[in-house]
Symmetry: D2
Subunit: 305 residues, 4 copies
């Protein structure tokens, strides 16, 4: 089964009865931060990868899929985004994609875990590509919810790039109706929220569909979409939420023109066909979205078991 040169393996749990194995080339960094267990590994199949609490966040070889998919559909649905905020986003690659839009004048990243960000700065230049040094960037190490509660700033885009909560605790409060309401209230009238929203594999759609259902309580437009991140070994859900504009109404031509006119450099993943692929959800996923009636609240938070 296994390459005899590969003795060290990283195991990632999908669920209690399923998992994925990656041969490790080397461990670049490993630390228990104030908030989580962090590792930067070099994987034989995917190059460098950031792992938090045992879950791969992104890998060198396919992070372009994750980060282009997370950022551009939302930004392209906004008429002229200038002020963007990233909640989480440790590696700096979410920042990087935002900064490819020359209309952006300010990119604020609020990631509570300074140590993770420092290690990513140092060890993952392939991912951030200098985004932390862009004059438009500001990084705060603060609780995002507390920050949003007290700020008077308003944003054109807020990207929620957080890992799902694995146990009860403050992280749960970043996945509730109350939190999404707070985000909505910190957006400009045409502002957009975009987020990663958990796996979409058969039998494990509960997190994704509950998040979509919850955001629908707060935003009039919620456009769920899906990509496949190879190193996660599962398909992955995202959503764009807004007070009006809807990426699903953009024609293929519009998408390609927006990309050509508004994004610096060439994208590797996103274009009009990828857009059609991602926003056209297969029937069984749409069914699961329709059936879901759970709204996640501070009082009844959701935990990924």
């Amino acid at each position: 089964m296994i390459n005899p040169q590969s003795y060290k393996w990283f195991f990632e749990t999908t669920t209690a009865v399923e998992g994925h194995m990656h041969a490790i080339v080397r461990t670049i960094a490993s630390a228990q931060t104030k908030y989580q267990q962090m590792e930067i590994l070099e994987l034989a199949a995917y190059g460098k990868a950031l792992v938090l609490d045992g879950r791969i966040q992104s890998s060198q070889h396919d992070e372009f899929i994750y980060h282009e998919g997370l950022v551009h559909p939302g930004l392209l649905a906004h008429p002229r985004p200038e002020r963007a905020m990233v909640i989480g986003g440790g590696e700096g690659a979410t920042l990087r994609e935002i900064l490819r839009h020359p209309s952006i004048r300010r990119a604020l990243m609020v990631d509570i875990d300074q140590e993770v960000v420092e290690q990513c700065k140092r060890h993952l230049p392939e991912m951030h590509q200098g985004a932390f040094d862009d004059p438009r960037t500001e990084v705060l190490h603060d609780d995002a919810r507390a920050f949003l509660e007290q700020t008077s700033e308003r944003f054109d885009l807020i990207v929620v790039d957080l890992t799902e909560p694995l146990e009860e605790g403050p992280a749960c409060l970043l996945f509730t109706k109350e939190f999404y309401t707070l985000i909505r209230d910190r957006l400009t009238p045409v502002g957009i929220m975009t987020m990663q929203a958990g796996m979409t594999k058969v039998g494990e759609l509960d997190f994704f569909t509950s998040i979509c259902r919850t955001v629908r309580e707060v935003f009039p437009v919620v456009a769920p979409y899906q990509t496949y991140i190879s190193c996660f070994a599962v398909p992955w859900g995202f959503l764009v939420a807004s007070k009006g504009s809807d990426p699903r109404k953009q024609t293929a031509q519009e998408v390609d023109q927006l990309i050509a006119s508004r994004i610096k450099g060439e994208l590797g993943y996103w274009d009009s066909q990828t857009h059609a692929h991602a926003f056209s959800l297969p029937k069984h996923i749409r069914r699961a979205l329709e059936k879901q009636d759970r709204v996640i609240t501070d009082k009844h938070p959701l935990i990924v078991a």
Copy 2:
């Protein structure tokens, strides 16, 4: 990481440096047939699963995605399919989906491995659902290439539902330009070939793109598409090949009308949005397809390492 009640695990190799683990509930059947190692397992996450030479072929919980995706795009691209042939297709679920089209009058399955078919008949009624007993069905245990070479029959649809060759040998000759030429010559003028064509994950696109390139040597229309099969833990490629008709030219309305008018019962996976999802290949996959220039021939066959 792992449920303490789960002691037995099935390991599936993705590549030499990556793999997927499934907790086993029980082993339903296990045999070394004349051609391959066969097992029918009950997996904790996916129910019953057919495993050939250590590779999951299909699982109870998501085989609807694989088999609807394999069969319907091709059949719906044909004006009035009556005679269908399946090459491989052990579980009988490919037959099952074909037989949902009332226009079908004959469904011939040629699977060389009688023992696998017998075990599937017995242990996987959830998959075949009686397809082997349909009066339109005929099953032959023969080498598909030899059969096609000598038959005078012509088919409206030929579905190639074979596992990729893992080592040199006769299985390799079912993935070559010569074999696809033979299939083409056994199709009616408006006949369609459809096939599963290997994984489409980042870094492992060689098999899929070479197959597509090879089929393009033989068929004027080749429409590659993609699904995600959860139990495989990778996205999966397919293609429809024809002498003229192209499913990518069907409108959403046409697809839904064809499904409503031509297929008995309700589908779980395929509809117009799934069609859009599947045939809209992400940019990086289209790039890889464009770059691929390898044509697989009997003399230079392709082996999945």
Copy 3:
């Protein structure tokens, strides 16, 4: 690393940070009994194996080491054993070794789990070799502690062949000073207790040494010894306890003469040299025994984490 023909594996936890993997040939039986999860597997390296709650109890290829080692040192230290009791002992191989002593007139086995015993009778004839049908054998499915409390019978040998408790519960009460006191009181004046006493690997000596310390509270003679059971992947501790006789005082000649004169058939494992090997504990284990001062009681039971 792994034979490509081996897709199914059994994982056995040694500790939370160490484990052992066995390729599975087939699953012979699998059941959740009233008391535990039970499986009879055929392992590629060891033949048939009984697994309870995810722990291998014995395997066809090396159970002779475990069962000869468990039974004979104690029996050979008794002048003329006639009445023996086994507590636990599901496979029947402990009975089998006891019955090889023609002086034995009664062999009572008290194993609470009837279903395990029935499955072993049916699927593990290589282990019990007819011991359940010997006219001297009686099997009761009862709580051993309750049975001992009310019985008026006295035994020459009591063999404790139980798995270590993995969680709080009634099984804990079979590893306490009170329970060993009860056993002592059900032995004849020259009666012997013998038991398996957990792993003896470096860093994991706590269970073994605490058990030895506890039994020393109750019996004047406690002779700990050690074997290596290959399928457990760790060395394994046992002990003989008595009111006077001590196997460590037997000369090599005595041991061999006792075996020759008192045991039917030839042993595969135990003889005078094995006796010297087993009762000569390496220095670091003797040190750990000396340092241990924990006495396990009903009020403060020991759980193997």
Copy 4:
């Protein structure tokens, strides 16, 4: 089964159908040297460990068992050892144990792999404890067989501390009758050879017994013995070979007096009881030794599959 804090694992093959898993705390060093793949890992259960070609050579927590067991029985069987040679012995712990004998005036280590030795010097001070800096020590990076062929030096002790050959190649020639003959010819008349001789678990005794049989062709006295190295997860064989003296003839009192009078500091593993334990081989191993008739030669070398 597994500590959720343990995501990285080291897999060690025992055979193609059995293996052992260790949670990795961190990777201290990792290199492909000219001769082998080398890693120094910190394992959760055993502390620092040296791994060559995927096989654990020794670990911080139980290397005292391996190295005391490898060195002292041989040295204590010699009347007054002054000149010792180590073949292999990368970590320096074999040197360390030799140097504890004040009679030793010269300790020559010939290990072909300079890079492994350098990394051990740097990262494993717990193992070598300064042995490389002892004025009696000399280290050569040379092929041991070539060195022995041309040297005119004679030794009181030669310790063969080499990994078993996993494939055909020059390493095979260090496990043959011809090589042991060469060693014998480089020993003084009362000189001793001692070596590690592979695993002794049930079903895998071929290497150990063939080595013992082969050495018997060359040395009149061959005393095989056995320890249990926890981090290997198998019992392990060694042997002392000489032209006359035999450690098995030493009484317990002699062993303890020799240790007290000739070794500096206190041993953790070896003493008279450990000696009795180790040299008293269980019956099934003695049987396997008796039956083995294979003599390993340069022409017919042995490879551990």
